[in-house]
């Protein structure tokens, strides 16, 4: 009988269902490992000697003050930036750097800190672009829209409709993205990433600029994605409440260095982390 769990649910002040964390799909083997990554832009050392790993099905948060190197880290995983030093193990394969296109086709999708959708296109069309890598027919066939192309498009559309249902954005299916409020645009961007059916999802500040209610919805969706599809999630987030509530493990960066790594409670009590956030007298 889960009465305790129930009581806990309802009393949780942020309304976030933290219980799912402990019971959801089993966290598996290491899927991505970064070892001694260093990245510099000219004289600016963005990341220095950072190592951490991500396990299958887990929600891994990267936190840190502004300019700590969080987005750079995501870009390294994504293959947009190429680190000068270090190695990356992804799905058992060792490499020095990642290649964005290859990474995407291996099942890594991402969202951006500043929304990067096609503003003039409808939500539906934006989501369809997420299926781009999976479209097999050629440009000529697509222009004629006949036979295999038609079947393919219907299959993709069916998948997109599932995502629309999942994210509860039926009402804005045909609305141009530019006309949507910010919170919904964020949701659409998550939808586009999901359209690629990723095994790993990189979320760059998915809740930035949202109000409490939108944040709750987004948390719900992130947890649901993780639970329903078993997707591994790496997220950058500034809202500590969110991070502590939904992530399994947290890595903390400050000035390009790793200063903490572990479960939310460990990190919360880590003196270096507290200093980095609250400041310390020199």
């Amino acid at each position: 009988m889960g009465e305790n769990a129930v009581a806990h649910n309802s009393s949780n002040s942020a309304g976030l269902d933290t219980d799912t964390k402990s019971t959801r799909s089993q966290i598996g083997e290491v899927i991505l490992a970064l070892e001694n990554i260093s990245l510099a832009f000219g004289g600016v050392q963005a990341l220095s000697d950072i190592s951490f790993d991500v396990r299958e099905h887990e929600i891994r948060a990267i936190i840190g003050p502004n300019g700590a190197g969080k987005s750079s880290m995501l870009n390294v995983i994504n293959g947009v930036y190429h680190p000068q030093q270090g190695t990356i193990f992804f799905k058992g394969e060792k490499r020095h750097q990642m290649n964005p296109h290859k990474v995407a086709s291996q099942g890594v999708a991402r969202t951006f800190q500043n929304i990067a959708l096609f503003k003039g296109m409808s939500v539906l069309d934006n989501l369809m672009t997420g299926r781009n890598l999976m479209m097999k027919t050629g440009i000529l066939q697509q222009a004629l829209y006949w036979g295999a192309t038609q079947r393919e498009e219907l299959a993709h559309r069916a998948k997109i409709e599932e995502i629309i249902d999942f994210l509860e954005i039926q009402a804005i299916r045909k609305t141009p993205v530019g006309r949507l409020p910010y919170g919904l645009q964020k949701r659409v961007e998550l939808g586009r990433a999901l359209a690629a059916e990723p095994t790993m999802l990189l979320l760059d500040e998915p809740m930035a600029g949202m109000n409490v209610e939108e944040k709750q919805d987004m948390c719900r969706f992130v947890l649901d994605v993780n639970e329903e599809y078993g997707t591994t999630i790496v997220l950058i987030e500034h809202d500590m409440g969110v991070v502590m509530d939904i992530s399994d493990r947290v890595v903390v960066l400050d000035y390009g260095k790793k200063i903490g790594d572990g479960e939310p409670d460990e990190v919360r009590n880590n003196q270096a982390v507290i200093d980095a956030y609250l400041g310390v007298q020199h």
């Binding site: 889960g2 129930v6 649910n9 799912t20 629309i164 039926q170 409490v212």
Partner: protein, 663 residues
């Protein structure tokens, strides 16, 4: 009331219950659509045969879990086919479906679950499951909790939980073991059994479970069907709460009586789009829905190019002049006007109705609240046969309805066939009809207090008949008060007049035993936001907008217009509004200020905002208020504000000799 010649078809005499109607439709029109649902972007149709099969499996599943005659089934969620089927499955087994308002918070559900002694519940999704699990310790009787949408529920371990699919599987197994159980149970059904229990939203006190029998509901649905000529080819969109008597009667009742098709929208946010795609032929909406539609149309017209804007205005003027007469089939409309109206239909009204999903409408109803004259006439002038009705949960609605071609604004029409309406000495409307409820569940005292010895139901509404026998409702009988000097004070009448302005969303009038009338105003954030935008008036949010002096000026003008209007009526001239305040927050059902059907709870508001009321009746020009409010996530907080009190000009009533005749 005498002289209603409409006869009701004889079905009521044949021991008809809703389950037997299902059997009938499965045989007579097995392959016609019974219900549609938009799922993953595509409308899915279920025929009567499919519905019967699904209901049989569901009923089997419930029987397998021990659902017995007389048990109650709680149904909570948006309008979903599966929930409608569950209601039918419960009725087939001789049980009673108890639909609950899906937006009620968990604690509000406790009372109903306890009162109805609910053992089984079927709910839509995780949101509802969470609410029921939260109150599970208080509802010991609740044994099974079935959910339709499994999303997010994968790891819920509670033993009470069961998916809809699992229930169906159980049911199919049960039915192969007991092949005749389903039909036997239907055969045992008695028309005098309770068919549904609908909890009233409770403007005062705890909600009461209104029990209706199959006979009463089916009889009433038949009356409705005859009144407007509804047939199996009609289409309805189900979007109003399942817990509301109207949805049960208009959607479920009419569908089972005629075999017409119900349509369930994809989600609550897509109702307008679904309306457009389905194009229902019969439509019911409270006035606020019509108002929202009109507001949106007007906003979009403002943004249209000048040519379209001028065309729209021109033809709307034409419609205003002749539209209603065309609709009512009156003679004496000039040839030119007829032609202009036809052109307007082609250029403006037709396309507009198409966009709104109202082009196939044969009959549209509104009720529950008074509807503004501009609003009502707008739709009618465009050729939409919008009519008003009057009724309440206890009488299966259907007390008075306006007849096509005989529609008078300000009245709710003449009594329906078979319904007797009488006025008590204090003006209270009394009703006796075949659609009368059986009782308030488990409250014989309460039942006795509302149904008198002669079998008349005391509606609690005050009203009177006009010269043509149409009923006019002015207010709740108990709310009709007196000003200190003794003249009549009908707060709702005044509030409605205020609410007819697009900028005013809600209004609460005070004045009983006072020297003059005052009002609390709730502005319409969307409409006024737009108004402010057009005037380059910056504001940071609802509270800020509500406090703007420009807004105060605008609202004062509205109030002064109402005062002018009131001054024309000798009985109500003293009820002019002297002082008013604009509230800093929207009145909300979550804060207990409105009922779930969004009617103002005047007493609760008066208590909660006592500081403001006192200020309204003193000389101060502002007052500070602290109000508790509940956020949508269930947390609560306190909002503080400093409100300004505005005063409005009142008009001296004209001399009796020049007085307009009161309507």
């Amino acid at each position: 009331m005498e002289g209603n010649v409409v006869t009701v078809s004889a079905t009521a005499g044949d021991a008809i219950t809703f389950p037997r109607l299902l059997e009938k439709h499965a045989v007579e029109r097995g392959n016609r659509p019974a219900i549609r649902e938009k799922n993953l972007g595509i409308w899915q149709t279920y025929t009567w045969l499919q519905v019967r099969e699904e209901v049989e499996a569901l009923a089997g599943g419930m029987a397998a879990l021990g659902f017995q005659r007389g048990d109650n089934l709680a149904v909570i969620g948006d309008n979903r086919p599966r929930l409608y089927w569950a209601m039918m499955a419960a009725q087939c087994l001789g049980g009673v479906p108890v639909p609950l308002y899906q937006d009620a918070v968990a604690q509000e559900m406790v009372y109903v679950l306890q009162d109805a002694d609910v053992k089984f519940a079927i709910v839509e999704d995780q949101e509802q499951v969470d609410k029921l699990l939260e109150v599970l310790p208080q509802c010991a009787a609740l044994k099974y909790l079935v959910y339709d949408d499994p999303r997010g529920l994968r790891n819920y371990q509670q033993p009470q939980l069961l998916s809809y699919e699992r229930l169906i599987t159980l049911g199919r197994e049960f039915n192969t073991r007991h092949p005749s159980h389903f039909c036997d149970q239907i055969a045992q059904g008695n028309p005098a059994d309770v068919a549904v229990m609908l909890y009233t939203s409770g403007t005062t006190g705890k909600p009461k479970g209104v029990s209706h029998t199959h006979t009463a509901l089916i009889h009433t649905a038949n009356v409705l069907v005859e009144f407007d000529g509804i047939s199996e080819t009609d289409d309805l969109l189900c979007y109003l709460p399942m817990a509301w008597v109207g949805d049960f009667l208009y959607s479920y009742g009419q569908a089972y009586v005629t075999g017409l098709c119900l349509n369930c929208p994809e989600s609550t946010d897509t109702v307008m789009q679904c309306l457009c795609e389905i194009g229902p032929t019969y439509y019911f909406a409270p006035p606020r829905v019509y108002e929202n539609i009109l507001t949106q149309v007007m906003i979009r017209i403002e943004d249209a190019n000048p040519l379209k804007r001028r065309m729209f205005r021109y033809f709307i003027d034409v419609a205003r002049r002749v539209g209603i007469n065309v609709l009512d089939g009156k003679s004496g409309i000039g040839l030119i006007d007829r032609m202009l109206y036809a052109v307007g239909e082609l250029m403006v009204y037709g396309p507009l109705k198409n966009v709104l999903g109202l082009s196939r409408i044969r009959v549209a109803y509104t009720g529950g609240e008074a509807i503004g004259p501009d609003l009502f006439n707008f739709y009618r002038s465009m050729g939409i046969n919008l009519k008003q009705l009057y009724g309440m949960t206890e009488t299966c609605v259907t007390v008075c309805m306006q007849k096509s071609g005989d529609v008078k604004l300000g009245t709710v029409g003449a009594p329906m066939p078979g319904v007797e309406v009488r006025l008590a000495e204090n003006g209270e409307v009394l009703v006796r009809s075949p659609g009368m409820m059986k009782e308030y569940h488990g409250q014989p005292e309460a039942t006795k207090s509302v149904i008198n010895a002669e079998g008349f139901f005391l509606t609690g509404d005050a009203g009177f008949f006009d010269a043509d026998g149409h009923l006019i409702i002015i207010d709740r009988a108990k709310d009709v008060g007196r000003l200190a000097e003794g003249s009549l004070f009908a707060p709702k009448y005044i509030e409605n007049k205020l609410k007819f302005f697009p900028y005013i969303k809600e209004a609460v009038a005070f004045g009983d035993q006072r020297k003059h009338v005052t009002a609390m105003i709730n502005i319409d954030g969307a409409a006024l936001g737009d108004w402010a935008e057009r005037r380059n008036l910056g504001y940071s949010g609802y509270a800020d907008l509500a406090a703007k002096s420009e807004v105060y000026k605008l609202i004062r003008e509205c109030i002064e217009k109402v005062n002018l209007d009131l001054a024309a009526d000798p009985k109500l001239a003293t009820s002019q509004i002297a002082r008013f305040v604009i509230l800093h927050k929207e009145l909300d059902a979550d804060d207990g200020e409105l009922t779930r059907t969004r009617k103002v709870r005047r007493n609760i508001i008066a208590e909660k905002y006592a500081v403001i009321v006192d200020a309204l009746y003193s000389d101060v020009d502002h007052c500070e208020i602290e109000a508790a409010m509940k956020f949508e996530d269930g947390r609560s907080g306190v909002v503080r504000a400093d409100l300004r009190i505005g005063s409005a000009k009142t008009v001296v009533s004209p001399e009796p000799s020049v007085r307009r005749k009161a309507a």
